[in-house]
């Protein structure tokens, strides 16, 4: 019965063009969705990692004083239950950091290099205030470098990228709806005689609209079957490439289960939306008939 009903719309007037364009839109929309979600995940992961990290700089000019105050500061920090981790940065590690700027001079013993202490504060606390309170009691001249502050600019960029991804997805969906509307209107014009005859023979608006709804769902499903797997393949390839970079920033760019659910759900939603839009458009057009 369904096959016979499907024949009522001319199969020669196929929707390959619309399906092709819709496939490209679904491909791009899935990629944009995945990109946005991965960026959001990376932003959250990086923020969570860096928010509790502070580096303390003991800047006393005298090397002995500097070493003594550094040891006292480390001890004071380790006594605090709010501090999770305290790691004095070795002189060699500091020399490695300075090497690119100072060359061999970075390793000279009489170079007044600050003593550095990496501190990790327990989550949920104001890291800078907590460390400042402890360190000020030992060395009021010590300087603090909150790692989270360095992320401020990057965080803004990441948020902009997420918004951009969301805007692209919204635009793609809007363009898809416009495409479906145009295709449906073209279909209405192409099948005017069929619609008129069916209407005169007593077909309900719902019956006629359902013909177009099924046709559109079929074309959109075809588009999704082409566009979505291609996008998923690209996501997998990019994920594998990203995993090999070892970058702290890019390493957090993972889709995870919610991201994959979105990437799989989006094409299904586009198919459902296309069918719904076609149904509504036909019902509206038929509403003008007597």
């Amino acid at each position: 019965m369904i096959a016979a009903t499907a024949r009522l719309l001319d199969t020669a007037r196929d929707g390959w063009t619309m399906a092709g364009v819709l496939a490209v839109m679904i491909f791009l929309a899935v990629l944009a969705t995945a990109g946005g979600i991965a960026t959001a995940t990376a932003s959250r992961a990086l923020g969570a990692t860096l928010a509790g990290q502070v580096t303390v700089q003991i800047v006393a000019p005298d090397a002995d004083t500097r070493a003594r105050r550094a040891a006292q500061t480390v001890a004071a920090l380790r006594r605090s239950p709010a501090i999770v981790h305290v790691v004095p940065v070795s002189r060699a590690a500091v020399a490695d950091l300075l090497g690119p700027w100072l060359g061999s001079a970075a390793t000279e013993a009489d170079l007044p290099v600050p003593a550095l202490i990496d501190v990790t504060v327990a989550p949920g606390r104001d890291a800078v205030a907590e460390v400042r309170r402890i360190v000020a009691a030992v060395d009021p001249a010590a300087q603090l470098d909150a790692h989270g502050a360095a992320l401020a600019g990057t965080d803004t960029l990441l948020r902009m990228m997420m918004l951009l991804a969301a805007a692209i997805v919204a635009l793609m969906i809007a363009a898809s709806i416009a495409m479906v509307l145009l295709s449906t209107r073209a279909g209405l014009a192409a099948h005017q005689l069929t619609i008129e005859v069916m209407h005169r023979l007593g077909a309900t608006e719902g019956q006629i609209a359902m013909l177009f709804c099924r046709r559109m769902a079929r074309d959109a499903a075809l588009a999704a079957a082409i566009g979505a797997p291609l996008a998923w393949g690209v996501i997998v390839l990019l994920g594998e490439a990203n995993a090999g970079t070892g970058s702290q920033l890019l390493g957090g760019m993972m889709l995870g289960r919610p991201g994959w659910i979105a990437a799989v759900t989006l094409p299904v939603m586009v198919v459902a939306l296309a069918a719904l839009v076609a149904y509504a458009a036909v019902r509206r057009a038929l509403g003008r008939l007597a």
């Binding site: 016979a4 009903t5 009522l8 001319d10 008129e196 023979l201 007593g202 077909a203 007597a290």
Partner: protein, 249 residues
Amino acid sequence: MLEAAAHRVQRRWPMAAIVQFENVGLRYGHGEEVLRDVSFSFVPGAFYFLTGASGAGKTSLLRLLHLAQRPSRGAIRLFGTDVAATPKARMPLLRRRIGMVYQDFRLIAHLSVADNIALPLRIAAQHDDEIREAVGEMLAWVGLAHRAEAKPETLSGGEQQRVAIARAVVARPDILLADEPTGNVDDAMADRLIQLFASLNQLGTTVVVATHDLHLLSRVPSAQMMRIAGGRLTDPTGGLRVPPRRERA
């Protein structure tokens, strides 16, 4: 086979009038009325010819009869139902009780003959087995069983019109309307089509044929004639049981 077809189209009518028009007027947009103060009634099982010159309003009257158009004024009752008071959602159910044959056939080109005939039954959501049986009977009745899978464009005008008639009656309508059904066929085929209408009428179906070809009127002696001119019905149904002699000339 023909008996089965006869059973398919046979009807009994409990009501006095199958169609009633009371002071019906019709205008398209803001133009002048194309139908004015049209009042008449059809009794079940009768055969009516609706005559008049081109542009007199025959097609407009048929459009009102098969619910393609709502009247601008007046009242129409179909099968005892006030059309104006009928919700739009229920109009398809009324339309399914009306068969319509067009001058230009209005067959769907990409469907086979059998699928065209089956269309009203598919719309009525009948089972495939019932559809196959009914379509087979109709094909035999109109003499086109051998062309069941042909596309309409491969048929002659007369064959296409017979397919259109089969489509119009396959769902056992209470009334059959035909708008200039012989306009695109030769005289021999016109005779054959009118005989099909007459045989349907003998089986109980109310038949209304709009035509400007007065020669057709003599083919169905029992038919009643309605004449429309300038949008007005000049010989309302019941007033003339037999067409006047001057109209037959």
